[in-house]
Amino acid sequence: MKPAFASSIRIGCTYLFQLCLFLWFNTADILANDYFRAVETGIQFRHQPGNSGQRYILETVSSGCAFLDYNNDDLLDLYLANGNRLSESTTIKWKNELVMNALYRNNGDGSFTNVTQTAGVGDTGYSIGCGVGDYDNDGWIDLYVTNFQRNTLYRNSGDGSFTDRTRAAGVECSSWSTSCAFLDYDRDSDLDLYVVNYLDFQLTDHKNCGDQLRPDCGPSEYPAASDMLYQNNGDGTFTDVTSHAGVLNPNGKGLGIACGDIDNDGDPDIYIANDDTRNFLYRNNGDGTFSDVTLLAGVGFSEDGEVQGGMGTSFGDYDNDGWLDLIVTNYQDQVNTLYRNDGNGLFSDASYTTLTGPVSYPMVGWGTDFFDYDNDGWLDLFVANGHLLLNVAQFDLTSTYHQPNFLFRNRGDGCFDLLDLGISFNRSSRGTAFGDYDNDGDTDLLILNTDDRPVLLENRVGQDQNWIGLKLVGKTSNRSAIGARVRLTVGKQQQMQEVAGGGSYASGSDLRLLFGLGDAEIVDRIEILWPTGEVETRIAVKSGQYLTIIEQRVE
């Protein structure tokens, strides 16, 4: 009996091992739920956080991703930021060609082709994030990559390749950068660049703080690195205006950025989600400077006035009242904070009353955005989750490294319902990009998972409702129309969205705007407020189409 028993165990183990291998390599095939389906993209990219064994704090924040149409074929391509292998040595050699960022061209049939080498965007540094925008207004989307140490500005040459213009443009920012955003803060019709920096940290600064099981030092053990604001000079170069613009703050440990017009005065304001330090809300004064209005606006702290571990952030008008609200994802044992814009310069903490906060308490939240997944006319909310300590479950039974991501359905009454995405989606997720990769009229998700493969989630429900997509092209305004605001009226309902650079965590999303219309087949009115201040309207527009609107006024 014994040998046979042992044999059956061995057979069982072999079978299980094979099954595990099968599941491991075919994860994408089985990922599906009522809302999303993981696309079998053929993408071989795998994120590399470092795996040095040293547990550097650098290895915890992971990376982001972007949707961008780099070749103007109206199909969203994918850019994936990657870390790099780190050794026990504190000397970094950034020449591991096997680990680099990747650009995948959308073939239009659900498959993607790796074009990293031909495009020349395979940054081999330790990358955290990326941002997209046409900074030189030539009609081709450009790319900025944030790194630990030197960042990279890739200018799109328009022929399928990019050129590294970092040094010439003066935007190296040799700090530990995380998120970034293109925005036209001075409304001079070219895109400026805000770079969010995290810690003033080198690998040689690494130390241990806890015990053998949990030696990791948190961000409070390291000094902050100030963010940078670069003003576009209009000639391919930028000027560091951080101090002059009033956004030099040495106390911020920045991870996320959202840009949007919070006070409806026509210019973009900036919100920074900081880890372990209070967040920043910079109100644009309209004269090239900003004022830090965080405390009086009430968006710097948790409901209890405590500093949080801010990670990702985004603006969105979830209650359709015409004012941009704000979501900030936070560290474990803190709730994600949803700030409702009261419209008078003040925000209210609506984390509990919207029911989006409490459920996030055990999670570590990262990429996030408001988007209308079911096209019912109310912005829903997605939050990517994942712990940053691989062995967290060993010392904290309430947590796990892989965590479920959250999709909250907006009920339209000020509350959200958490939808069950299913356990098979659990990863240690980080950056998330939002966009309609298959142009079927609903928003899909690109999620970068730490030390794992990214996942492209195709929306399965949005196309059941009516929708309209808008691709705005600036003429007098910046070409990407970043900062343009659209008010859309269907019956009694009004919706508002802005074209935003930044948002989420370390990621860049589709610059087109997608509105859910429910069962309405005709949009009564579309009003476009361009960054220049010009207003254009369209009336009685048919649903179910992507409409390209080119700014009319040409000087």
């Binding site: 009430g298 209890d304 039974l397």
Partner: protein
């Protein structure tokens, strides 16, 4: 907690089996237990530990000494040792409610919620009429985010003990997590009816009212919270928010300013608090925290940390010194003197203890003790100028033995020509009517510290005296 334990132990001692009580060893053990409880109640954890340990060795079959030892370890932040001791108690007496209760709290603190729940369920099984088991279980469930289950437990606890404000508070807070705001407000108001001075209930009531956008009412609740605890950071934050919502901009800004001040202290202690979360026995982190609190005149917070250091390591000089300084800052010289004397007992070869005894005895006008203490300090550390100068100044203040004072002061200056010592010398010469020498000394002090107004005033007095004398 201390009194709760004491009461619990008393009850349990009364309930000891007669067979145990017959033996002499057990009777001795009981006496040690009693003394240990007294020390524990007085916060003297090390002495309590000695007594409990003796009780345990005298009567190894008694579970209560292990409970006492466990509680001391809890107080000292030695959680693993505490768990081990309490488990030893349970291995002797598996139905010991107090041990289950303490273990439940410890496991909850260590975020081992499953174990915490197990022990609370034991408590409930063993003492189904005790409200605390249900309340404790409710807290653990709420901490896990199992709010509805927590509410069931709180309700059971309230059914048994409807007059416990803490349970009503927990119920209110938990209802808030579920967005049942009106019920939350009701529970918190009940908590406040039972204990109107309960700061956290005022605060949580304010928060619930904020969520309901009842800002005027929120202001009232939050104002009470900050009146009861002026350093309640969260209450200040929400009060500022509530003022802003009702358009009271000036009050909003002023309260925000107060919040920011509190926040800054919080930020400074944060790294050390994090280290203590990982290792509650990290003395250095605790000391750094205490120092920061002391710098900001948060005496109570500082003293708590110093006392915790002493609970872990009773002879820690830095902590005793910290407490002496805190008491001095509050001008509680008698208490400070007692601590200074304790320092001389703990570290009899350390001159600084005697120097403090000298300083504090001088404040209390205990002349003989002043002289004795400074002389002892000088004997122990003849190279330190402080005691020389202090004693010289003491003589000068009382206009006694001025010759000796000059000699002492010169000894201090030989060791370190600090302006303050030169000032002492100037004052002594002045008292002796040696005005030119006094002027010479104070001018040297002024050369070293030109901005010091005291020295300037003294120079003027000396010059005036010279004029009169001439």
């Amino acid at each position: 907690m201390v009194h709760g334990f004491r009461a619990g132990v008393l009850i349990l001692i009364c309930a000891l089996p007669a067979a145990f009580a017959d033996t002499q060893a057990v009777q001795q053990a009981e006496r040690h237990l009693e003394r240990g409880m007294q020390h524990y109640a007085d916060g003297e954890l090390s002495s309590a530990l000695v007594e409990f340990t003796q009780a345990q060795s005298l009567a190894p079959a008694l579970p209560l000494p292990w409970v006492g030892i466990g509680l001391v370890y809890v107080g000292q932040g030695r959680l693993e040792s505490a768990i081990s001791s309490l488990q030893s108690a349970l291995s002797i007496e598996p139905d010991l409610v107090i041990a289950h209760q303490q273990l439940a709290q410890l496991f909850s603190q260590k975020r081992q919620f499953d174990l915490a729940i197990d022990h609370y369920q034991q408590v409930i099984t063993l003492a189904p009429k005790a409200a605390s088991g249900y309340a404790g279980l409710g807290v653990v469930l709420a901490t896990q985010g199992r709010f509805s289950e927590a509410i069931v437990q709180f309700d059971k606890s309230i059914e048994i003990d409807p007059d416990n404000p803490v349970t009503h508070h927990h119920l209110g807070e938990t209802l808030g997590w579920l967005n049942h705001l009106q019920q939350a407000v009701s529970a918190l108001k009940t908590s406040l009816r039972l204990d109107p001075a309960r700061v956290e209930s005022h605060y949580q009531l304010g928060v619930m009212l904020m969520r309901q956008q009842l800002y005027q009412q929120a202001v009232s609740a939050l104002k009470k919270a900050v009146q009861l605890n002026s350093r309640h950071k969260s209450a200040h934050y929400n009060l500022a928010r509530a003022y802003a919502k009702i358009g009271k901009q000036t009050e909003a800004e002023a309260t925000t300013h107060l919040f920011e001040q509190l926040h800054q202290v919080d930020e400074q202690v944060k790294p050390f608090r994090r280290r203590l979360e990982v290792d509650p026995s990290n003395l250095n982190a605790r000391y750094q925290m205490a120092q920061i609190y002391a710098e900001h005149n948060w005496s109570k917070a500082a003293e708590i940390q110093y006392q915790r250091i002493l609970a872990l390591q009773p002879d820690t000089t830095a902590a005793i010194l910290g407490i002496i300084q805190l008491r001095m800052a509050r001008e509680n010289f008698q208490a400070a003197l007692e601590w200074a004397k304790r320092l001389t007992q703990v570290q009899p070869e350390l001159s600084v203890g005697y120097t403090y005894v000298g300083i504090l005895s001088a404040e209390l006008d205990l002349v003989e003790e002043v002289v004795q203490a400074y002389r002892r300090a000088i004997d122990l550390n003849p190279d330190s100028p402080t005691a020389y100068n202090n004693l010289a100044w003491f003589y000068a203040q009382r206009n006694i033995d001025l010759d000796g004072a000059v000699e002492l002061c010169q000894m201090a200056i030989q060791r370190s020509a600090k302006p303050t010592y030169l000032d002492t010398l100037a004052q002594i010469y002045f008292l002796r009517g040696q005005y030119p020498m006094a002027q010479q000394a104070i001018e040297k002090a002024i050369a070293l510290d030109p901005q010091n107004q005291t020295y300037q005033d003294r120079l003027q007095s000396i010059k005036d005296a010279i004029l009169v004398h001439d």
